[in-house]
């Protein structure tokens, strides 16, 4: 006798797993330990936040009155120092009435950087674009043509200098880095040794010693009577420094190319340079774009060191603006926060972009 089919009673609908409340439960209160941590952290925020808001916004002075700032000292921030000094901080010692020039020059360069990040623009035209950008930048900054008043390079400073040093040194470092990386993987012992010495030498010393060298020793290196602008010397120093690090990144990409591809290229009769140019480099470079981006971020941050050899980029301009001004000197911290915000915006944007590129690279890998 067959059993009569009895359907099982329907199970209750699952408890909601989407939405705010389930998320909070899943992420903040899974166990008593977890809940304790959550409460502790919330308590800490509740304890600290009001003080910060009081200091940073409610009691803060936004107008450029040194006396009002003095009065609020200790209880409120003095953002007035930024209102008062921002032009000096951002443009350094550049002549005041000419400051529209670095403004436009920086805008042009940043636009160039942003355009280079967009995939649709990745073509040979980009090189032409950059030739244009650099020409515009240096014409505007240096002047002397088209009726622009000439401005000596030792008056350049602030953000334009930071952006220019980072961009230009990366541009110059890139070809050098590719050559050195290829050299380090070469079969020719002399060339390999030279490249290894260069890379390890530079990577073994801090940037500041390279900058000291650029500023103290470079003048001794040159034939008598020639003098090279300190900006160029520092640029050469940063370029040589950046190239060594970048060469190691490129080498990482080169190592990842399977040997079989090189053997196949040999079999097809391609020469060494043809193999590198048509087969190895396109793959290797695409692979290392994210690390390259990170290298760019670190060079961007490292340009702050040129302030130690007396170039007034963003960090140096801060000291320039405040160290000699008795009225505003007590409010250095607020001005530092301003600069930190500028650096953060630039670097954070670049690191987000680097993540995006990494995803793009991985898309082609995932088949």
């Amino acid at each position: 006798m067959a059993d009569i089919f009895q359907p099982v009673a329907a199970r209750p609908a699952p408890i909601a797993t989407e939405g705010l409340m389930p998320w909070i439960k899943r992420n903040l209160f899974t166990s008593w330990k977890n809940s304790l941590v959550t409460l502790l952290m919330l308590g800490l925020v509740a304890y600290l936040l009001p003080g910060f808001v009081q200091w940073g916004a409610i009691n803060a002075v936004f107008s450029a009155h040194a006396d009002a700032c003095q009065a609020a000292r200790g209880i409120g921030a003095c953002w007035g120092v930024v209102t008062e000094k921002w032009r000096l901080i951002i443009f350094g010692r550049y002549p005041f009435e000419q400051q529209w020039r670095p403004e436009i020059a920086t805008l042009v360069m940043v636009t160039g950087l942003v355009l280079s990040c967009i995939r649709a623009f990745w073509s040979m035209w980009l090189l032409a674009l950059w030739a244009g950008v650099l020409a515009v930048f240096f014409t505007l900054m240096g002047g002397g043509v088209f009726g622009l008043e000439p401005v000596r390079t030792d008056l350049w400073g602030g953000l334009p200098l930071t952006v220019m040093l980072a961009t230009l040194s990366i541009f110059c470092a890139f070809p050098l880095a590719v050559l050195v990386a290829l050299g380090r993987r070469s079969n020719l012992p002399a060339i390999r040794t030279l490249c290894i010495i260069y890379i390890e030498l530079i990577r073994g010393v801090p940037l500041i010693s390279v900058l000291f060298m650029a500023s103290f020793m470079f003048p001794l290196f040159m034939p008598q009577g020639t003098s090279i602008d300190v900006l160029v010397r520092v640029l050469v120093g940063i370029t040589l420094f950046a190239a060594a690090y970048m060469a190691e990144i490129v080498r990482g990409g080169l190592q990842a190319i399977p040997k079989g591809q090189l053997e196949a290229a040999d079999t097809l009769g391609l020469s060494y340079w043809q193999t590198q140019r048509k087969i190895v480099l396109p793959q290797a470079l695409a692979m290392v774009v994210p690390s390259m981006m990170n290298n760019f971020i670190s060079i961007f941050k490292d340009t702050s060191l040129v302030t130690i050899v007396s170039l007034y980029e963003l960090t140096g301009a801060h000291g320039l603006a405040l160290n000699s001004d008795v009225n505003w000197r007590p409010f250095k911290i607020e001005a530092y926060i301003f600069i930190i915000a500028i650096y953060f915006v630039f670097c954070f944007a670049m690191s987000r972009y680097s993540l995006w590129v990494e995803k793009q690279v991985n898309v082609s890998k995932a088949r």
């Binding site: 992420n27 903040l28 899974t30 977890n34 941590v37 959550t38 952290m41 919330l42 079969n187 020719l188 012992p189 002399a190 060339i191 030279l194 390890e200 030498l201 990577r203 073994g204 010393v205 801090p206 940037l207 500041i208 010693s209 000291f212 060298m213 103290f216 020793m217 003048p219 001794l220 290196f221 040159m222 034939p223 008598q224 190592q255 399977p258 040997k259 971020i297 941050k301 490292d302 702050s304 060191l305 302030t307 130690i308 960090t315 007590p330 250095k332 911290i333 530092y336 600069i339 930190i340 650096y343 953060f344 670097c347 954070f348 690191s351």
Partner: protein, 392 residues
């Protein structure tokens, strides 16, 4: 009916790969040697023209400047050589303490990125992004400024239970007065470490033989502490502490650190920790999730999963970049010059300005950092070679 293959030409030709290789190398060597000769020649001419002396004889001359903080005894009547050595020791001091501190913070933050608690995750993410996207120089300047502006003067230092003092003059805390009895504590520690190593090897053997897994932390740790305690008792139980106390104009006694040292230490440790956190995170991320699930299916506990499955594989990914970060920290300590901590760069800079020996002073800085980096780099490359994927 095939024709015999033509004899291989054994002629030497310019078109052969070997010959071209030789020529390229020769050209490269000549160019580099020429450049070096050109620079050296110019330097010599310039130095003659400007009347700059050269050579390392100045190292034996009297330095004449004082150094704010020293590890070994030093006074201004001693030589430049001694002053530079003091600088090297100061660099090493901040680097070693910084590396320990940054590893602890970095690993905690890195593991925090995997927390079940969203607030902890968010905090760790915010920390990493904030600290690694701001130049280290700016951070050092900021910490120094906080130390000398925000803290109270040393006449009225912040005081925690009369043991810890914090002021513009720096940090002070209690420190045991060194007596010979402490020697036995050190001996106890060494004995504890030896016993720990022996015990762990034995435990590993037992584990491989029987599969019984013993706790390898609690017991050795307790044994080591006990041995140290025994050493302390054997040494006559010295109990004398040097306590810091508030004097009218300063805090005296105990062990103290200057604000310069603290600013460099905190700045370097927090900055590098952000990078180490990323290294740790990517290392743990690199172990595929399937392995963790497989370990769970085999019945390994959470701790065993971490110790036996995740860590051994993650460490392979973590250790090389971690070493790089330690080197970076050491190299970044050169920025101490910006806030006046007397590290080797700062002292070499003073020496340079006093003696005018630019080439020699910069060479000294470079050699100091190079010798640290190259020795580590050699180890790293050997490790990398061992770990690289083998091909034909």
């Amino acid at each position: 009916m095939s024709e015999p293959a033509p004899n291989k030409k054994r002629q030497w030709s310019l078109r052969s790969r070997a010959a071209r290789g030789l020529i390229y190398q020769l050209i490269a060597l000549i160019v580099i040697a020429g450049a070096v000769w050109f620079l050296a020649f110019n330097t010599q001419k310039n130095m003659e023209a400007r009347g700059i002396q050269s050579g390392f004889d100045f190292l034996g001359q009297t330095a004449g400047f004082d150094i704010g903080e020293t590890v070994i005894a030093y006074d201004p009547s001693e030589t430049y050589g001694k002053a530079l050595w003091v600088g090297v020791l100061n660099t090493l001091r901040v680097a070693v303490v910084g590396i320990v501190l940054t590893t602890i913070i970095g690993v905690l933050i890195g593991i925090g990125r995997f927390s079940h608690n969203a607030l902890v995750r968010g905090f760790c993410y915010g920390y990493v992004e904030l600290f690694r996207n701001v130049p280290i120089l700016l951070q050092l300047l900021m910490w120094y400024l906080l130390f000398v502006e925000v803290l109270p003067p040393s006449q009225a230092a912040w005081n925690l239970a009369d043991l810890f003092f914090l002021s513009k003059g720096g940090v002070s805390m209690p420190w045991p007065v060194w007596v010979n009895g402490h020697f036995w504590v050190g001996a106890g520690l060494l004995a504890g470490i030896a016993a720990t190593l022996y015990y762990r090897r034995w435990a590993q053997q037992q584990f491989e033989l029987s599969g019984r897994d013993r706790n390898r932390w609690a017991l050795p740790l307790a044994a080591t502490l006990l041995l140290m305690l025994a050493g302390w008792v054997a040494g006559g139980a010295p109990r004398q502490w040097s306590l810091p106390e508030q004097l009218p104009f300063m805090v005296d006694g105990g062990i103290s650190a200057t604000p310069e040292f603290m600013a460099v230490l905190i700045g370097l440790a927090l900055y590098t920790a952000a990078f180490i956190a990323e290294v740790v995170r990517s290392g743990i991320d690199s172990v595929s999730h399937g392995q963790v699930e497989a370990a769970g299916a085999l019945g390994l506990s959470k701790r065993q999963k971490m110790r036996l499955v995740i860590l051994p594989q993650a460490l392979r990914v973590i250790i090389p970049p971690m070493t790089n970060q330690f080197l970076n920290l050491t190299k970044n300590s050169s920025l101490a010059v910006a806030i006046g901590y007397p590290d080797v760069v700062s002292i070499a800079n003073t020496t340079l300005n006093q003696s005018g020996r630019a080439v020699e002073c910069i060479a000294i800085i470079m050699v100091v950092y190079l010798s640290t980096s190259l020795s580590t780099s050699a180890l790293m490359n050997a490790y990398n070679k061992r770990m690289a994927i083998k091909e034909r």
